[in-house]
Symmetry: C2
Subunit: 458 residues, 2 copies
């Protein structure tokens, strides 16, 4: 038997997260006055223990036992040698994927949802609000809140809410409440509806609604939670890459290429940051975050200061951004429909440590079908972006006759996204790309903001 | 950290299946003339290597490496201590569940689908036909066929096909073809439609269609595959119980009570048969298969000889049966809508080794919600039947103040069954039970058949 899955024992589970802020320099978040903000200004939005993690520069942060207790229901997640895919492509490359789809909500998202629910609970919070795109994040937070006895309210981007009728039911099964965004429950939502009653919605709008809903709760016991972008979210996801490193060691391999899809950046960061540490310290690896052509934040948008949400409730963050008012077209990868990108990921792009790519919608579904038939797992439409890039690299390795080691993150399964596959099979999907004019138009919203500095690690 | 999941290393994966036919006596299957049939008469339906397994009385049968290569993508499946559920119920019982939902198709079904696809491939078969109720089995076989390059055609019971629009897409993602049954593609289907054009369909009818579709294929390279009931299916599923035994040993526990839902019997048998072996050899365990009140095969129907399908293509099998013409009411646990029960499970019921129970639909969904909130996994409606019985036993342990060890099988997740949960939340579901008159009426179909003998092990 040549097992495809690489095992880790209970003793080998990482007990600390890796914090990339120890190893790179970052532009600080700015307040409305253009000056760096302190932790206190975030206190109405997040519990202080998470704010401390957000700004920490300690390289290793201990994972609380209570968090590991929940994570180990499915962790360590399988690292699988994709022998079926290799065979289907006829490539000499060794392809490995980290299978994050085995978590109860079906994606990598609970890695941080569980941690965030725990820290909120510790801080005495009773209720968490959030937004969700594809629904993976909202489901994960509803799940995590159920584990710690917290209430959960999720604003779901309307186009995804309509595409995936069962996401709401899934959250309800865990006791969470899910409403389509923009809604009439918040000022931000009402403004978005007034502007365009038929808007497909966007993560930017949904974030505004969720923040507003948290900070206006008069009990003071509600906080907001973000499923990507922020430093502490990236931190919590590094358990993926830390496990993968140990698993690859067991079979004597080290990746030449690392690939992850990136919407806000968290699954990509989770897999890649522990290897970015090696790269910063001299190791040669090609690291590719992959985004949709319909929302080309990393590949087409500038590195600027911009808000994380449409109503401009968040501080100004240093990131690649298509503009906080940008509403991405309604393609079938809701988790990648975000105007910005995690500041840490953006910083690494600026430094040339990682190299972003974009792919078109049809190619991603084709890649997903190839993967489903050869490896057996039906991927989330988001994950298909990574797979499309993996197939490209594996084909290149075949042409070059090189036995490259490719590692990628299977961020989630597509069992709640079969509507997208159905439309793909029916020939109803098309490629969606932004024109340069559309991108230029979107950028006007941050023209007046301060510009981030050019920083370099080391 | 007190991990809830009990780990097994790669070396500890079972390399042999346990065959209960070595330890119990069985009435033989009979042909149309009422005489026992030989292996040859099954040759048009199944490949000979699987027929040999069907009749083998070897206690241990080696699992081929090619099968383990695929199974280890997700196996060993997690054995999880349900501390959340224990806490929610306030019970001193130790509750453990085997989480079979982590397989790519989301249930225990691929344990045998992969084995059957392998043996068919080995025998030179190119295409497999089958039926499916809830869709778990059809999905699993489509998945398995994709792993071995076989074609797959699935007849899906119409009521489930309509309840779960995405099952078809899921099978299509793996290259399988799924059509609602009864269909106009077979004589058996056309007869069922002529009798009742609005029939919800049944597993009995779908089996007839799938068998007919296989045996009438003139290439001779098509065979039929059954996802439950038969001896070789139970055999392949025993990997569940064999793993569970090793996992429980690691934490120094042994079950007082074992519970699984049972439609055709395969997930129940898979978990319990390795423990039935212990019970036959003197160990005290309570073993409960659980079925819906809407299809009370084990608890209300007699042990008889009957056909496994509506069109009477199968041999006569010794089993508890509501009659091969019985069309169960359309409750939301399609995998349990079967008129018969596995002959091995039926035999153990007759001997009093296992004790069947039934539960009502609403109670099963309530149990599923309790489990989802406390343990995090949204169960398949079928698995909810097991959970309802577990909750009953855990509550009894609390009343008695006894620290009982309860082991059950979480046969699958409910992510493709959220429609049922949605209807439950909306108050649209009701309890469905069969009246004694309905049961009596169904039984007339086997009145003329030979009667099985009363047999006893040892």
């Amino acid at each position: 038997m040549a097992s495809k899955k690489i095992f880790l024992s209970e003793d080998e589970i990482p007990r600390q997260w890796y914090n990339i802020l120890a190893d790179i320099k970052m532009n600080p978040p700015l307040g409305p006055d253009g000056n760096p903000i302190g932790p206190d200004s975030l206190a109405p939005v997040f519990p202080m223990n998470l704010i401390e993690q957000e700004v920490s520069t300690e390289r290793w942060i201990t994972i609380p036992d209570e968090v590991l207790d929940v994570l180990t229901v499915w962790r360590p997640s399988p690292l699988v040698r994709a022998r079926g895919l290799e065979k289907a492509l006829g490539t000499p490359a060794h392809i490995y994927y980290k299978n994050e789809s085995v978590s109860p909500p079906g994606s990598h998202k609970p890695n941080t949802a569980v941690a965030q629910a725990y820290y909120n609970k510790e801080f005495g919070i009773k209720k968490i609000t959030t937004e969700t795109g594809a629904g993976q994040w909202g489901s994960a937070l509803a799940y995590a809140c159920a584990q710690f006895g917290l209430e959960c309210k999720v604003f779901m981007v309307r186009v995804s809410f309509d595409q995936k009728p069962y996401r709401k039911t899934m959250m309800a099964a865990w006791g969470g409440i899910c409403i389509p965004s923009p809604s009439d429950q918040t000022k931000a939502g009402r403004e978005a509806l007034a502007k365009d009653p038929d808007t497909p919605g966007s993560l930017g709008i949904a974030i505004s609604e969720a923040i507003e809903s948290a900070v206006t709760d008069e009990t003071g016991q509600t906080r907001y939670s973000l499923g990507s972008v922020l430093n502490h979210v990236m931190l919590h996801q590094t358990i993926i890459g830390l496990e993968a490193k140990k698993q690859l060691e067991k079979v004597g391999e080290y990746p030449d290429i690392i690939i992850g899809c990136a919407g806000g950046g968290s699954n990509f960061a989770g897999l890649s940051f522990p290897f970015v540490y090696d790269k910063i310290n001299g190791r040669q690896i090609d690291i590719y975050p992959v985004e949709p052509m319909g929302c080309p934040t990393m590949t087409k948008a500038p590195f600027v200061y911009d808000h994380g949400d449409t109503a401009r409730y968040t501080p100004l963050l240093p990131m690649h951004s298509l503009g906080h008012a940008f509403v991405p077209p309604p393609f079938h990868a809701g988790g990648l429909r975000y105007h910005g990108m995690a500041p840490t990921v953006s910083q690494l792009i600026c430094e040339g440590v990682i190299e972003p790519r974009s792919v078109s919608q049809l190619k991603t579904f084709e890649a997903g079908i190839t993967f489903a038939r050869s490896e057996g797992i039906i991927p989330a439409p988001e994950s298909n972006h990574a797979i499309a890039a993996v197939i490209e690299e594996a084909n290149k390795a075949r042409e070059e006759g090189r036995e490259k080691v490719i590692l990628f993150n299977l961020s989630g399964h597509g069992l709640l996204d079969l509507n997208g596959y159905e439309r793909f099979f029916a020939g109803e999907l098309s490629d969606i790309a932004l024109s340069d004019d559309e991108i230029k138009a979107a950028e006007t919203v941050f023209a007046e903001f301060p510009k981030p500095q050019v920083l370099k690690h080391g």
